[in-house]
Subunit: 345 residues, 4 copies
């Protein structure tokens, strides 16, 4: 089988990384790429690392859907809905790496993104594509909302403990640190090298748009509405997210129970590694792969569970997870094209 894939917004960071992964996918081929800013230019002119390896030229997005089996949209929020509708009507699989279809509740979307759903029926057909947590719902779906990077790291890290009732669903704190690619290819003073290098700070404290997305998933886990405090930080590295998370343990919970819960949830997952006691999650160990490493730490002095969860924001947090969703949607092995060993250095 060779799935024909189209990448809309291929010159952004998520799009470019997706192209890189699809080039190495044994059962997919890139049927076309598009970009508003670089139409008519080769991707390798924008990213010289691709020279001679992917010299595909950015087309206009309009013709793309027709010749593809699956369309990946790497667009700023608000721009995916129309394309999703078009793909839906053509019967194509649509995987949205943006935020348009991630939130189920329109009022949440309105509160955080300042606009409503244009086509409510279409939203009803979307599924949240975090395979480890929603695999059964994803299968057979054609409209997949690929999760945000922070939400992926956070949700995978806290889900088993919440699901098994081992931690309290209120008072959760998520302190995340992301590499600079998370801010995208667009220029800004914040991401200017001398401003960013040898620097570190939180940003959008308790005000980041990924907050309701994390809460949605963790509410599913807890079976009760969850409100939490989420604080992202900008880390002077290219790739990778570490989320350090704090939860109050339910009375009497033992470390063994916790480890069992995570083992049960992820023991068979190819992309989640629950680290042995004594190790801590380090973004170095997952870079350039679709892996999520999770380390568990009991603070018995204060009755607190500390979970550290790390992913590559561009892979498991974006392009890799999108490929995983494509694999699921087309009935392939989920690891197809994603069996990557993280470099040791």
């Amino acid at each position: 089988m060779s799935i024909k894939a189209g990448v809309v917004g291929a010159t952004g960071y998520a799009g470019a990384e997706l192209v890189r992964l699809l080039l190495a996918h044994p059962q997919a081929e890139i049927a076309g790429i598009s970009s508003v800013s670089f139409e008519g230019k080769a991707l390798s002119e924008v990213y010289p690392s691709y020279q001679g390896l992917c010299d595909l030229v950015c087309e206009n997005q309009s013709a793309l859907a027709e010749k593809c089996d699956v369309v990946f949209a790497c667009l700023p929020h608000g721009l995916s809905e129309n394309l999703a509708k078009e793909c839906h009507d053509l019967g194509k699989v649509f995987i949205d790496l943006g935020a348009d279809f991630r939130l189920r509740a329109e009022e949440e979307y309105e509160e955080w993104y300042g606009a409503g759903f244009k086509d409510k029926a279409l939203h009803g057909e979307a599924v949240y594509g975090l395979p480890e947590l929603y695999r059964n719902e994803i299968k057979g779906k054609k409209l997949i909302a690929n999760p945000g990077c922070y939400p992926t790291s956070a949700a995978l890290g806290l889900w088993p403990a919440l699901k098994q009732g081992l931690i309290q669903p209120q008072g959760l704190v998520i302190d995340s640190k992301s590499g600079v690619t998370g801010a995208g290819r667009g220029l800004s003073q914040t991401t200017h090298f001398p401003d960013c290098n040898e620097a570190f700070s939180p940003y959008k404290v308790a005000a980041h748009r990924h907050t309701p997305e994390i809460e949605q998933t963790l509410s599913d886990a807890a079976g009760t509405p969850v409100k939490l405090t989420f604080v992202p930080h900008l880390l002077p590295v290219n790739r990778g997210i570490v989320s350090t998370m704090y939860a109050r343990l339910c009375p009497g919970v033992l470390e063994e129970q916790l480890r069992d819960a995570y083992q049960a949830a992820y023991g068979h997952e190819p992309f989640v590694r629950v680290l042995p006691k004594g190790e801590t999650a380090n973004l170095r160990n997952v870079k350039f792969t679709n892996l999520c490493d999770i380390s568990l730490h009991m603070d018995e002095r204060t009755g607190t569970l500390v979970v550290a969860s790390t992913i590559d924001n561009m892979v498991k947090g974006a392009a890799g997870q999108a490929v995983q969703n494509m694999n699921l949607a087309f009935g392939l092995s989920e690891t197809e094209g994603l069996q990557l060993v993280p470099p040791a250095f």
Copy 2:
């Protein structure tokens, strides 16, 4: 006045930074430096940046105290007590940059450092040298325990809110990130460039020795014993600590009250800047200075106060604060030798 200062352990990072600050101090001169590992070598052989500017030779520590008015000890924990005693008996000021005299409760010291106090009377004369919080106690003291780097950033950040009863003293979370100089000059795999660069992870989760020191100070602020969760992370930068801290707000507390409390506490402090609303503490803005920047963030959705506090771990977190303590001990202006403008880049 020219204070004669001696630096014991001058070739470690804290010692070397202290030498640098003392060289520029208008009312102090370096009477001698010592080092076990580099006895007989010039400091500039160990740190070539000092060549021609400080070619002092490391002596044996034994003769140092006698010719100095103040001795700074930059030693691994457990090695300061004897020297402190010697200085005490000679009537010299002793400023310990190590951990030996920081904890008032011997049982805490035993629990975290695995050894008791050798000379309890001597410990009774020590004062914890965080000037902004304990200025009156420090004045006139001759045995000063210079605070740890993490504790300085954490205590300054939470003190006013706790002191004024605006946050609850239980359930505090301190998520700190430190540059690599915090790990010292000694070699380790963790601080080997390719292991450390483009990497990030927590370490000693809820098990770092600075925990009881932070708790001691915050218990003073709260007027009740505080237990908290402290998680440090290794940040791939040379210098600087950011502590992001989470506390439950007491019912009904308004942002204005909070800002007033911090203003009252720090409005006249030369080294603490409470940032205007909308700004976030960034270690870039305090590097190479004795400053502490604090930003306050209310998460009204969850009733959480987020405080971000940043210092240069080598200056306000070590050598700079030691000089500040020296200034206090000798009745100088606290800012003498410390009026440094942080480079913009």
Copy 3:
């Protein structure tokens, strides 16, 4: 076909990278790994990024050769000869990532490494494994000296111009900059993060052991003995080498001739990209791949050719080239297992 490969010295950087590449090679499998320092330990204990993906345990090297078709030696210089002899006697392919067999002239080896050849006959069977330049000599050989990292970047960059007589063979200057993995996994003050980060300097100026290796290859190109000045620098990045090279143009040489010479030499090479006029070689564009990017620049004001050549020191400069040599030795396509697209960021 499944080639059984053994990696001796697997816990060093070159060895670990080689394991990573071999794990993804469709026609090779790792029959065993060894390490003196970590015998009995899993590779994933040393490099946690490999956890669950390569948990091979380091054996004693003695049993390795017998069960392998090819043995890769990643050892300090001086330690490969005995193992090479053993493999030779067993009829195995031996690929040495160290320096023992790179120099053909024993007196050169003596001058730079301070020791002679133990088994001269064995040295006579060795071939220098830089496939783009010595492909025909490598085919069918069983004892392959994998080139050094600097020599690979330098030789590929200057070969065509020298071979075609477009530049003068005397007065060559090679100014190279290497990422820190080039210094290996062993700890040193130079590679301690705070010493190395935000720092830059040359080292072993005109005294690096790769000098005679570069000269040997370029003498082959020039058909006359070449002596040159080689100065390496330590670059605060993990991976990658850029060699900027300076040569006097022969009178009357036109840029077109130069570009033609490089095109003729490398136009069909899968791993060498001669960049279009106006672009400059950047290590970012070859990282994590076996590629070498070369940019050519004529300084007509001074009659100087400037060539910039970049590789990933761990891949084309070590493990990737070793796999390329294995492919050649076993008659596989040279790109097998090495068709890697460099990440754009």
Copy 4:
């Protein structure tokens, strides 16, 4: 004495650094700052590190000259001439950190900057402000062209050898590497963190505008016109330049002669350190100071002299040298305000 200084273009990197140095200068005070882009804003709004320490507001440049004794211009080339004229007519000292007055030959300026001199008489009054080489010419001058960063490192590094006839003036190669602040505060894809971090490449190969400036100074040294090859590289650090330079030794020159020449030239200079044999210049050792470190290396195999020269591009390469020139112009000690010890880490 308190010199009243004005900084035009204070929000660029050179301007901001200059403000920082002037704030600590014991005999100068900042009378005003200006900025086209940020008129009406405080400098500390642009650079929050200055908050509370320098909250000067950017004025319009027009009123500045009148109230100052010295005006520093930190402007893009082509914008200084008018202001210089105004200061000249008012009898003020004018120190230009831009390129307008650096080249004595108008045809050189035309060739490299694409425009002629507007006021030739004014150019006749300018002096090139590299104090170690042109001290006597600078004294008493009121129009000082502050040298470029690369030219400062290069000229200091090669001057004594050329001046004493120890190296040949033709065939010089200057391979320089600069931190990213050298590219200024303006945003560009090249200086976007993910493009710049973990990357390295040459740029403007043999085509950088600092070339004729270096040639002008080295021609003065050699007493004959010098043409050379200059290749800059972008280094992923914030600050610092290392220039590695290659020259053919004149026949029979001994290392001792070389060292003597450098000792004679710089032995009494407060800002130049000729490193002992065996050490190599590292930008780490001069950062945040006005120092230039020079290391000398003889390659006897090829008759080549290698000189490595390093400065902080923002201090000795811009703002610090400008202060040094101000000190000279006003008859102060040259080291006033510049006695800075470089941090060891």
